[in-house]
């Protein structure tokens, strides 16, 4: 059953990132922008757009031929008084597909066929005044996308933030971000943490250890939050690490699982440090993202210098190369000597396991 869930979780994660998914939810959000600035589809693919206007102004969504965004925007402005009735969509061969003008809190779904020619097709809000800043790029391609930071087809203000998720809360989402929720392949006392909007991990507050980590997004709690709450949070992205030993840290004996007790967590600039005890040894653990999401560092601080040898047990097939600031590795097991107060463990994703370049900015 547990294995089944792991497989299932990966399947879901893969599915939501696959290009075979032609339904794309795009939201107009505060600040004259769409939540997604890039969408990738294959040539001649049928694309269904669910456009939601989550902003408090009216917006539309117009797909144009490559390089035609500004000319379409200006043609829309020239429509003047007649524009409103025509949803500010000018009659032009340069327009591929368009929505109506959506007032706030409304949704429109429409479908069109992606062009056969590969290229970057702008999408833009042609409501007068919006189109100079409110746009993105539909990539019709089977190849990886150019780096976001230097992509000339998206607004400069969005070249840093791959994902802007509209907040389900009465405050903006800030990262790191944490939810206690129901997570797959974890005890029911699970904590999902996003270090950034695209790098996340699951800490098991019942069993007191890092269960898995993923890149590409955080969690979608929508299904869990509605209805009776039986649904798991949905992982958005690809899991790149899963702890495949029952419990990594051992006290005194390498083959004995410790009794664990969760004590809570503290936040420093929103970054959580977990407090827990294993066989009476009080531990504080902070997880951080390595540069370029290449893995995690885990800083273990022992409230009192250790009086027994500690072991950190890993298995070879978890896709991670471990390094430690303290102790010696032998056959995947780190021996942490007595008297240790702090261990920094670096978990580098093995290059072979690195995911393909993200082609779909969900």
């Amino acid at each position: 059953m547990r294995l089944f869930l792991i497989v299932c979780g990966l399947f879901i994660a893969t599915k939501s990132f696959s290009q075979s998914d032609t339904t794309i939810t795009l939201q107009a959000i505060t600040g004259l922008q769409y939540d997604l600035v890039r969408i990738a589809v294959k040539p001649l693919q049928k694309v269904t757009i669910i456009l939601k206007n989550e902003d408090d102004m009216a917006h539309n969504l117009v797909f144009t031929k490559p390089g035609k965004r500004l000319s379409v925007v200006e043609a829309a402005i020239k429509m003047g008084d007649k524009g409103q009735a025509a949803n500010y969509v000018p009659e032009s061969e340069d327009v591929l597909a368009a929505s109506k003008i959506l007032i706030p809190n409304t949704t429109q779904t429409f479908t069109f066929m992606a062009p056969s020619a590969e290229g970057s097709y702008p999408y833009v809000c042609t409501y007068p005044g919006h189109g100079y800043v409110m746009y993105g790029a539909l990539y019709v391609t089977t190849k990886p996308l150019p780096p976001l930071a230097t992509d000339p087809n998206i607004p400069p203000s969005r070249q840093n933030t791959e994902i802007i998720v509209s907040s389900p809360h009465p405050f903006a989402l800030e990262y790191p971000l944490l939810y206690r929720t129901f997570m797959p392949d974890c005890s029911p006392a699970a904590i999902a943490v996003a270090l950034t909007s695209t790098h996340s991990y699951c800490f098991d507050a019942g069993k007191c250890y890092l269960r898995y980590a993923w890149a590409g997004g955080f969690v979608d709690n929508t299904a869990h939050w509605k209805g009776n709450g039986n649904a798991f949070a949905k992982i958005q992205g690809n899991i790149y690490f899963k702890d495949n030993v029952t419990y990594p840290l051992r006290v005194g004996k390498v083959d004995k699982l410790p009794d664990v007790s969760f004590k809570g967590y503290t936040l420093a600039n929103r970054l959580p440090t977990f407090n827990y005890a294993l066989d009476g040894v009080e531990v504080k653990e902070t997880l951080k993202s390595l540069a370029n999401e290449e893995g995690l560092t885990r800083v273990f601080t022992f409230v009192k210098p250790t009086t027994q040898i500690l072991y950190f047990v890993t298995k070879a097939d978890d896709g991670i190369t471990y390094k430690s600031s303290v102790g010696k590795w032998q056959n995947g097991t780190l021996t942490i000597p007595k008297g240790t107060s702090k261990v920094t463990l670096t978990m580098n994703r093995n290059k072979a396991q690195a995911p393909p370049a993200a082609a779909h900015n969900h």
Partner: protein
């Protein structure tokens, strides 16, 4: 004949009223309604808040602190009408207690948590697990309620059983036991279906009382006695309110498997008569659809009269109807039992009245919820306008019947008419199926009716009085000599103990 006398009375009253007050409108054309006494205001919510309210309390500085289904804890300053985030990321928090202006206690699904702002930036940075020493199967129905703080600082919480509408997770927390899995609601990890007490001295979570199903509401009465509500369902013929004492069993059988010394038998295999003899009955049964469908949090009116004439009584929230319920309890043969009567009907209150708290001014704040259930979202404030309505203050059992006490004198001429009162009795079966119809329903004749000389009390001697029944009294339009109308004309007394 009766009609005629009433009519002539009304005519004479009209005339007197006209003479006394001069204005027809003041005294009669506008019917006396609850809005003359109480008003309800909806609190403006911050943009983006899904106000499924799980808990509410007031901080010492007068700010409301409330937690919501999506894990937020927000503060609201009633003076400036500003909302601020205090904490986030919690798992379905269903109760909050303010400790100070920077510290709260919360019960969320996996644990009871102390949440503190230690760097004075207004947002919490410490989330300490007070206790997570109870099981979770991961079943959605395993809600956790509380905390409720007693005078010594002990913290009570209550743990739902799981629902057979869903299974359990591959990974669970706590020791698994399948002994009660066959029921509609089951308890497969400790201590689902229990009220728990976190002992502040030993810092341990102790099992306190068993037999609960969905105990969405804990509160103390004026004497510090613990009351816990539950919801109609299996082993719940109708929704009850229990006076909860240590070690007792309150009827829902699944939780029995975690009782110390309980034999290794499936609770469902035990005869109902045996289970019935083991259980402690509810102090108040809320007749289903008559007054409540899903009672929530009991709250003592400790306002000393700032909220009207009901100081010292308990109110309880109700999910399905736009009302609260007021409880009229008394001790008979050492046990608490009593009556319930509606409160707030017609004040503009919403449904989904999940959480209640009084502010320092004596206004009653109501946190609404509609999560997975009938209800509404939002927050409301009920304010007493200063005048006393005509309402039922007490319903006391006598050796041969009941005595009602009113908040104002009733007109004896009207009140002495026995045709204005209709007693019925019935009971709800204690059994495994979901809910129970009214059973053994019978009208009960009034043998004798007495109105006290001051008009404050009406006493009934009934043809028959039997323990184990709800006595349902529906009344006609009683009124005071100056025309104030009785606000609630239905009252339901749970008779467990006859007066010796």
């Amino acid at each position: 004949m009766k009609k005629h006398s009433s009519f002539s009375h009304i005519v004479s009253f009209l005339f007197v009223g006209y003479l006394l007050f001069g204005s027809f409108n003041d005294c009669f054309a506008q019917r006396d309604t609850i809005t003359n006494y109480y008003e309800t205001e909806q609190i403006k919510l911050p943009k983006g808040l899904r106000a499924e309210t799980g808990g509410m309390d007031f901080m010492p500085d007068g700010r409301l602190v409330a937690c919501f289904h999506l894990g937020e804890v927000m503060t609201y300053n009633p003076k400036t009408k500003t909302w601020k985030k205090f904490a986030e990321g919690l798992h379905d928090p269903l109760g909050v207690v303010a400790v100070s202006n920077s510290e709260i206690l919360v019960v969320q699904r996996p644990e009871m948590t102390r949440i503190k702002d230690t760097n004075a930036d207004g947002v919490a940075d410490v989330y300490e697990t007070i206790t997570d020493d109870f099981g979770m199967s991961g079943n959605y129905h395993e809600f956790a309620f509380g905390p409720l703080k007693d005078q010594e600082g002990n913290l009570f919480m209550a743990l739902n059983v799981a629902s057979n509408g869903a299974g359990i997770r591959p990974e669970i927390r706590g020791q698994y036991d399948s002994l009660s899995r066959e029921g509609r609601m089951y308890s497969c990890v400790p201590y689902r279906g229990w009220v728990m007490k976190y002992n502040v001295k030993t810092q341990k979570l102790e099992p306190y009382a068993s037999g609960f199903r969905s105990p969405n509401g804990l509160g103390f009465d004026a004497k510090g006695r613990l009351f816990v509500s539950d919801n109609q369902g299996d082993w719940r013929g109708t929704s009850p309110l229990y006076h909860v004492e240590k070690g007792k069993f309150y009827g829902h059988v699944a939780s029995l498997i975690w009782k110390e010394g309980f034999p290794r038998v499936k609770p469902l295999s035990l005869p109902v008569a045996q289970l019935d003899s083991m259980r402690t009955r509810e102090s108040i049964a809320f007749p289903h659809t008559e007054i409540a469908h899903s009672p929530t949090q009991p709250l003592l009116d400790n306002t000393g009269g700032k909220f009207g004439p009901f100081a010292g009584q308990l109110f309880i929230g109700e999910m399905d109807y736009p009302r609260l319920v007021r409880l009229l309890m008394e001790e008979v043969n050492g046990q608490l039992q009593g009556a319930c009567v509606a409160f707030g009907d017609g004040t503009g209150l919403l449904k989904g009245n999940n959480r209640l708290v009084f502010d320092k001014n004596g206004d009653l704040w109501v946190g609404h919820n509609d999560h997975g259930w009938v209800g509404d979202e939002g927050l409301s404030r009920i304010h007493w306008k200063g005048k006393v309505p005509l309402d039922i203050m007490a319903m006391n059992l006598t050796t041969e019947g009941f005595e009602l006490t009113f908040s104002l004198p009733v007109d004896p001429k009207i009140a002495s008419n026995p045709e204005l009162y209709k007693f019925q009795r019935y009971y709800y079966k204690y059994h495994q199926p979901y809910g129970s119809p009214k059973t053994d329903v019978a009208d009960v004749a009034i043998k004798e009716l007495t109105v006290s000389p001051d008009g404050r009390k009406v006493a009934f001697k009934l043809a028959e009085l039997k323990a184990g029944y709800v006595y349902d009294l529906k009344m006609g339009e009683l009124q005071t000599p100056d025309g104030k109308l009785l606000m609630n004309r239905a009252v339901f007394y749970t008779l467990n103990q006859l007066k010796k």
